[in-house]
Amino acid sequence: MTMTKSRPTVKRRKAQHVARTVTKIWYEKPTAQNPYLAERCYCYGYDLHELIRQKSFVDVFFLLFAGELPSQEQSKLLEALMIGLINSGPRHPATRAAMNAAVGKARHSHILPIGLSVLGGAHSGGDEVEQSMRFLRKATRRTPEDIAAEIKDKFCSSEEDFHIVPGFGTRFGGRDPMPHQLAAYLASLPGSGEAIQWGEKFAARIAEKEMGWLDTGVAAATLCDLGFLPKQGAGLYQLLRAPGILAHGQELSNKPITAMPFLSEENYVIAKDAQKK
């Protein structure tokens, strides 16, 4: 079989693209003199200046992504999550990427996007948060006991599958205490909902296997309870994790390259097959 002989000329499809991009988020009222300049900006209908005067950063952050101002309970829950996730720490691959870029004298404006790109990954990163939100939206229709029983075989058969389901599992072979402490606090807040409560029970159920909450699972459950969609999860996780990534990068950005290890030949082991013949 070969290529279709009667290939017609490539033609533009009739699909109608919009003439103007639609946004429900932001309205810019132009000045009378210059249509490119805005004299007032409105976020979901609220005047930005009024938001500056009357609302907290967390409230406006929620408004920007949810379309409505949060209740007090929602605001408190989101603020707690934002503080809980503010820094993934200097050992996380995303932070290390930012630190490497900084000590390698990358431009200062590149440090954050470099770290955030690495934070998009499927292991302890944004992609896992999205997957975890999808998992939780389905799983919470059933009991944690049911789900734990269903994946029981995975406990037995796999030594390397540490993320038993997205957002839950082990970290470095153990049950990570930090996300449990954060989840327990979040669960105590009036704004917490079904996903966090379900996750608490599920984490307890898998504790005997030394598994439990992961950071990504706590973020996913909280974002679910705040009403966000899975498609928002990856980016929101990156955003909430951004401050620590940037701070650690900036800490190294004026340091010499000797401020981070560069392994000796003894500690860079090249497999025999990879060495020149």
Binding site: M3, R7, V10, Y44, I270, K276
Partner: protein, 276 residues
């Protein structure tokens, strides 16, 4: 080197072995001796002797391909290098230029945008999954209709298959161009590509839809023995030259002058203005 390959539960031995030491199956720089790369000395065996695309494949897969495959890949990269600033990844290059970023930031951002489900290298995994699964089904004796069915809402509707049809336009001028390259380089049509064409013929007859360059590259490279993961890695930077062109043009023009927008060029359809 005897290194524990997988972690064990309730033990940190796997991670302890990797503290302060990098183990590489790929190669590395032994200062004053050589830069080792998959059994080659880069300066002695590769530089000036092998093409960039041969080394790209070597680094991505561990296998040094013959020159003609590298030439095929280079032609493929050209196919994804249009200097058209309407293409999504390219427009990012233009926007970066008009915002006065560095070229590296512009190209990196554009390449990242090509990690897409509808075009560029991001569509590789689904494309490979389709053609390999479809071929396996064919070998089991399934009909084309049976192969199409999971991709259709109704049997009379166009199946939505990664690698066939494309956004904006129907047909794909890059497929015949790459077919010409394939013939010039002396590559036979393998079983994946042959079946990909068989599917195209059915789609063309019934729905006037054709294979796109993504479907073509997946089928061809499967025939060359690459996995979906390997193809994704090899092709990850394929759009960079197109992004570069668009960045350069915008960077060489006044700042903020690329496809300017007035306030009312955005169509606000959110809530009416309201009080807190």
């Amino acid at each position: 080197m005897s290194l524990q390959r997988t972690p064990k539960k309730n033990s940190t031995a796997f991670w302890d072995a990797r503290r302060g030491t990098i183990y590489s199956q790929k190669g590395g720089w032994v200062i004053g001796e050589a830069i080792h790369n998959h059994g080659f000395s880069m300066m002695d065996d590769l530089v000036g002797k092998k093409s960039y695309f041969q080394v790209l494949v070597l680094n991505a897969t561990g296998r040094l391909p013959e020159r003609r495959l590298a030439d095929w890949l280079e032609a493929y990269f050209i196919c994804l290098s249009w200097p058209d600033a309407r293409i999504w990844c390219n427009q990012i290059g233009s926007l970066a230029g008009t915002a006065r970023t560095t070229p590296v930031a512009a190209i990196t951002a554009g390449v990242l945008a090509s990690d897409s489900q509808i075009f560029g290298p991001g569509a590789t995994k689904e494309g490979v999954d389709f053609i390999t699964t479809a071929l396996a089904k064919k070998k089991e004796g399934r009909t084309i209709d049976e192969i199409f069915r999971p991709y259709q809402r109704r049997p009379d509707m166009v199946p939505k298959i990664t690698g066939y049809a494309r956004p904006v336009a129907s047909g794909d001028e890059r497929v015949p161009a790459m077919e010409r390259v394939r013939e010039q380089l002396g590559f036979e049509i393998g079983e994946h590509l042959a079946f990909a064409f068989e599917i195209e013929n059915v789609l063309a007859e019934r729905f006037q839809e054709y294979m796109n360059i993504g479907g073509y590259r997946c089928a061809f490279l499967c025939d060359q023995g690459f996995s979906g993961t390997e193809i994704y890695r090899i092709l990850s930077s394929a759009v960079l030259a197109g992004v570069s062109a668009c960045y350069a043009e915008a960077m060489d023009s006044p700042a903020d002058s690329f496809l300017t927008l007035r306030c009312d060029d955005m169509d606000y359809q959110g809530p009416p203005l309201r009080e807190i």
